[in-house]
Symmetry: D2
Subunit: 409 residues, 4 copies
């Protein structure tokens, strides 16, 4: 009867999916796989509600894109049916190339591979399977279609991807300060010379969006405990690869083994990787760590036990200058007390940095404000305060990780 299938979403309510190739994509194993990949990886060590999946996010981002396209059409922007569905397909598939725990494991599971490249490979494969129905979606995804606002809806400083993940992550972590009035922002979108812009009255909403985003970074994405859990996960995978390449990793399932076997500088072709990639999700990683609690290698065993039993390393922020000397001191202390080798020590005592800026002012794609007189201006200039300017300063934080006892005097 209805031309629409409805999904229930805790964040947006009802999500309407047109019963055409869009629904075919959603039912495809490539997208269904995202149901088994949590959006926030290990963040649930801190926020126990954060078990939402990349699948829900893909649906949600598509939903917001649909809203945005309708708003633009109501404002007189001509958008063909083909463009409409292609944009939905592009946003739906934009994260399809994410590996499990990809926030942490990107570049670790497959060295030097960005998830967007994998997304593209998978889209191209799907396009073959579906007889070219995704050709336009791929063009839009790559930013090659001559109407840039469609690409900007799915990837820019104000795209529907971020809108959804900010809202969704706030919702499921329970960090209500991150909640963003997407409705209002979307209502103020417009198109000017085929560019996505924001009407002047939307400035305060954008500003609040940028503040919320920054807040989510420090409160959730870069929360100390989540950060240390992710760092430890990376160490685990690095150790596992090291052991695997040395043929010393006894316990490992096939799918994971494939990826551990990829060498640092190895050039990969889609056909080699895709089958294994789409068979991999959170389950293999979690299962492997659970097993490795009892494996032979002392380093891997301790790391796996520590993460599984929540005996996490301790992380502390410090100044850039203080880092090198402290690290040297800590490594020495650790080695002395544990008997681990210098090389093994690096898995337990290490330094890193994280950075964030809410708005990239040097970006080639600034957020553009459409003033009432019809002129365009960067949001920094449009805002009546130096506030957004301030927000666009990148904040870099340095930190050291080490076991508890190393921190004590």
């Amino acid at each position: 009867m209805s031309q629409i299938k409805i999904f229930n979403d805790p964040v947006h309510g009802f999500i309407e999916v047109p019963k055409n190739f869009i629904l075919t994509l959603i039912d495809h194993p490539y997208l269904q796989r995202l149901k088994r990949i949590r959006q926030l990886g290990l963040t649930n060590v801190v926020y126990p509600g954060a078990n939402h999946t990349r699948f829900s996010h893909a649906l949600g981002a598509m939903h917001l894109t649909q809203q945005a396209l309708r708003v633009l059409m109501e404002k007189g922007v001509l958008i063909s049916e083909e463009e409409y569905y292609a944009t939905l397909a592009a946003i739906l598939l934009h994260d399809i190339g994410h590996a499990p725990f990809s926030h942490a494991l990107e570049n670790v599971l497959i060295p030097n591979m960005h998830h967007e490249k994998m997304s593209l490979w998978l889209m191209q494969r799907l396009n073959e399977e579906l007889n070219g129905v995704l050709a336009l979606a791929i063009q839009i995804f790559q930013g090659q279609y001559p109407r840039p606002f469609l690409h900007q809806l799915i990837s820019s400083q104000l795209d529907m991807d971020r809108m959804d993940f900010l809202m969704r992550d706030s919702f499921f972590t329970g960090v209500q300060e991150g909640i963003v009035g997407t409705d209002r922002i979307i209502k103020t979108l417009a198109v000017h010379n085929e560019q996505l812009v924001v009407e002047e009255k939307g400035i305060y909403s954008i500003e609040k969006f940028l503040v919320a985003r920054r807040l989510m970074y420090w409160q959730v994405y870069l929360h100390k405990t989540a950060l240390i859990a992710e760092c430890m996960l990376i160490q685990i995978l690095k150790r596992a690869r090291y052991l695997f390449l040395q043929k010393k990793l006894s316990e490992c399932n096939d799918k994971l083994a494939f990826f551990l076997g990829i060498q640092e500088q190895q050039a990969l072709e889609p056909q080699q990787v895709i089958e294994n990639f789409v068979a991999l999700d959170d389950i293999e990683i979690l299962y492997a760590i659970k097993q490795w609690q009892f494996c032979q290698d002392k380093v891997l065993r301790e790391l796996a036990q520590r993460i599984w039993q929540r005996k996490l390393l301790k992380l502390s922020f410090l100044s850039k200058e203080a880092m090198a000397p402290k690290l040297r001191l800590f490594k020495e202390k650790f080695q002395n007390q544990t008997g681990y080798t210098e090389e093994e020590t690096n898995y337990f005592v290490f330094g890193e940095s994280v950075s964030n800026s809410a708005y990239l002012k040097q970006s080639q794609e600034p957020i553009l404000i459409l003033k009432k007189d019809g002129t365009l201006t960067d949001i920094i200039a449009a805002s009546d305060l130096s506030n957004i300017d301030a927000l666009s300063e990148p904040v870099v934080k340095y930190f050291i990780c080490a076991p508890d006892f190393v921190w004590k005097d």
Copy 2:
């Protein structure tokens, strides 16, 4: 049975009121009068949902104060029962001296009278009536009690008054960007040397609170249409006083007449004013304007008709420099086209300014952050960005009001 009476509140859910003198206060005509005074005056010309009253706000602010006091006690701050209830009484009564539409009419209805002074008068009168039960509440309200954090809960840059009104005004206007996670801020409150402070982890929440506050100023409190409606209301009352003092105001109810008869420099004593003041609420003002649509004086009649029939003057922001010449031009044009006198013209064509800063950095009472190492610092220094510094710059905007036809070429 229960020692608690429960009020339903759309914003906070259940509000618990202890069945002691706090409930007596709530049932008193002085507080019940606030049920007939809308919190946002004429803002419902723009936001039709904004019909909430000062009574609900008083209850809500008391509710948040109760939450804050409990959080502090859980953290080991000793607060006696007497202090507890006195603080609740103080916040409950803090706005009791507001006149109808006081956002606009403060200083107009009673010249040179601040609502806090009237609140104090009324509290003192209540204290007599209730045999001194409010003595401590009055001390706290005036900031004379030796434990300043109790006063700071009801009046400071981070008081429960603002927390509630920001949340409530966002809620009822439907401007969701103004919604503030008061729960989280309240959880991070602490007391240090009897001062109210915020734990370090609360910084991002405070920042978001300040941004939300600024947003609400420009989007709601100083919304152009609400602003012009309020300016016109002031003009109406000024004209009515002028006519009244000239004995030319035929239609006017007794209560309002009392206030219109107060002279500019007249010194007032509580006993003269209180009876009339507490008998006045939104109804008299609205009723008077409605009548004045048909009164004899041409100026008052036109102003009343314009506001009632939504033929509002037009307001436009402009630079400080541009103001004087434009005003001169507009007045001349208006006089020529209407035949009004120069003095009458001032009711229809006039300039004003509004200003706002989200955070007062020169304030004697900065928002203090309690760092993990036990030291205190101003939030500007504690924030990792120049962001709050930016927020604390006052923004001043100048505007001119005049009838539509004056703006046209």
Copy 3:
């Protein structure tokens, strides 16, 4: 730029109003008047948040109707542009004939006049003013248009009027149990033989809607304290009319006077009433009661004082049989203790009944369920339980009102 004007609504978020004659209607004084009539009259004596207006409700009901029409169109129901806007106009105007406090004052302010008749008169007047643009809306409103589902959307057991007022009244009173998932119900609406029906999967939602409705009746609409306040308001108006017709009512504003002068059996023509009717809103009624606290007539004075100072009569439910004897007893007791005459006593001691059934099963317009096999059935038969059957039993409650001291032994 945009063809749509946006209103902020705390309940539904953004409400989109097409910038055609629909916006003209909203800006018209007839509809603007609803901004000064509270939806729930005196219910704010119990629920202090309940200050929302009939204007907001009209907008909200229009919003839901817009949603419903879009759902139907997506399911393939053909609806012309003319039908679409006419239905929006009809729902927008459906309550335009409500007097202030009409829940209580219907039939009291204007004897024997139902608000729907007044709504029709006003629509016809508007239609003249707007050169016939409302002809189809009026047909739909009256149920004379050959496609009954359009009328059913605005007036039936499942209309958008109820959907909105239940949601809105729950929202503003803070009685969350009344909140209804209108989204879901609307998604299950369909049209079968031009009748509005519900798809089978919507049964549980409808059931919950009916339960919520019943709950709101007993918890809000017929709440004892709200009920007694409304009964007293009726007594006040009755007494005022009695005095007015006897020429004994000294204090009364003109607009109210017109209505108090209407005789019980008087036949009224639109042109006599409309001007006065549209000039009347909550302000006149409240202003009059406030004044009558000090009027000459002892009965009116006491009633006005009691309602204004919250010294309400006491209401108690009892069995139908117990009513007459108790009433006799109470009246006698009251007369003896106060010295009021028998006729005056009736203003202070009286009995009434209220009734409610969540679903009218004998109605000519049952809620129809469209089963998957394409057949229709009444919801009572479709529900797997005798539950809705039970809900459709009317509940009648009898009560007596009298001053506190009469109830005491």
Copy 4:
């Protein structure tokens, strides 16, 4: 500093956990394991948001219990500190004995073992570990403590367990009709003769709670697609056990193997089972099914593939009488078309029934209403309608499962 640790919860906001043995329990591996067991098992095939865990539910139920205890204390019920914490411990641990997917796998993974028995075993083990600190909690959990209301808070027709899971499951599935105003119900709880009762004014809330519960059963818990997924999961485990006992299951991890090896009538002692039980969570089950897609046994392989690739069997409800003949017909048809044996056919074609009643009226523990006159009555008698009586009728539904092609003519 604070004596309280705060958890963020999307449903309840902040959850406060006292930093005593309650926090020790939460940090214990037995409870942490619940983070890896989803509350609704396979329901996320239909509701993609339903990934919340039993851990969050345990926290949430504890939170509501804390609220309920505070309400009771405010009403004058004396509750000692020991009783307070013991009740929190009991509710926190009440579900600790749940196996992964226990909604489906209870009695399948460990034959004839109810999860409450396992919860008790684990509590006793914890009690030993923690030197008897749980003695009172265990007494309360078992209903052996002389103050029954404490047990009733954690297990009865109105316990905090149901309150939380209904709210939580509604929240995460996005089925808003299931949302229950727990705040209001909790506020109306009272204690009478040491029994948990509800004050009269709470009747409508309870009624709504029961309706919401029934709705959630049919809309979520017994949703056709979720039901068929669970039935298939049971078939998979049954087949795996059959193969394992026949030593024909090549691929199986150790932990799962332990359980597959338990014989139907085998008597189990805690010490045999506990270690393996607490090592088992969703990961092993999901991992095993994923592997079994490629196993040797044709039946297990097909079942695993069907569930993983969402080629679910089809389920249809029918009358009890129609079941046996249809089942016979379908099995025959399936065997003929596939070549499976009769015994193998039973894994693919089978009939079952589900039942639900919202309120058990024959229960020994009815929901008791405390009337204003101090007497008690069952809610059925207290309700002014036969509505709850109707709700208490059990509804039984019969259904058949079979592959799609069997259903077709």
